[in-house]
Subunit: 149 residues, 2 copies
Amino acid sequence: MVDIQPRACPIAGTLDLVGERWSLLVLREVFLGVRRFADIRANTGAPRDVLTKRLRSLESAGILERRRYQDHPPRFEYHLTPAGQALEPVLIGLREWGIRHLQDPPPAPRFVHTCGADVKTRVVCAECGEPLEGGGLVTVLEETGAGTR
Amino acid sequence: MVDIQPRACPIAGTLDLVGERWSLLVLREVFLGVRRFADIRANTGAPRDVLTKRLRSLESAGILERRRYQDHPPRFEYHLTPAGQALEPVLIGLREWGIRHLQDPPPAPRFVHTCGADVKTRVVCAECGEPLEGGGLVTVLEETGAGTR
DNA sequence: CACAGTGAGTCCGTAAAACAAACCGACTAG
DNA sequence: CTAGTCGGTTTGTTTTACGGACTCACTGTG
């Protein structure tokens, strides 16, 4: 008999909000400036009803804001809240991984620095700011014992 | 009539491999040093058959490696490949967002620097290495026109 | 030896979710 | 008047997830 106690952890909590199918693609679009229902749908391929559900749940999670940009008839645009903008490193990280590790990497340069170059993520120590490259520098803690991977 | 052409982009490509339910939680566990089926199941809560499917697909994506650690009976452990380790920034990003933006952030410190402090992600320019903080520094390109969000 | 337990699953029936296609309401443009 | 746009909702079907029972090849306990 195995007792199942899913780890309460911020990764799981975040995935509860943005980890469902289409959610991160929706956010990608909004990051790219695509704010309207039909356009988000066209660029992601999400079914309309699912897209509606995702937009509502991202809105109620405080990640997107639904703004009316005209009345008569009412039309809406979706904008990132500050919390939504804070997901940028996640998208950049997924993008960077895809560019490096997908067997057939699709055309990529969509997030670039103002200097014109590509952007990437870096894991750094929150205290000393030292970059942790090469995998070995991050230590992973367990309740019982630690490891360095 | 809207023509739907989902963007071929590395974010979508990466999510095809790791974006299904449970996949990223499985990877979190392996990052934490939890390598065996029953333990991964206990710490994530994934149903057994789904977990089997995810482990197989992560394996065939080259993200996990399934290693036999005993014969008679055969028993297996899952290890990160280099490609799998390269997903670390994504997990750290999700974790960091959860710590900062979840209404009720769960106990968090699981990835720490060897100096004992927490880690975080930084988005930097791939060329000049300049950090892009404050949201405004990243430029997002569109086929038709660019924006600064 | 019999019996309980473990690890890594598979199988099965049900419940939930996704999907595609059709439809809708309030307009605008021709 | 007709067609089209936008932002959805509704409906029916297919896919997926889920929980529980079961299996197989052992190991350890009395």
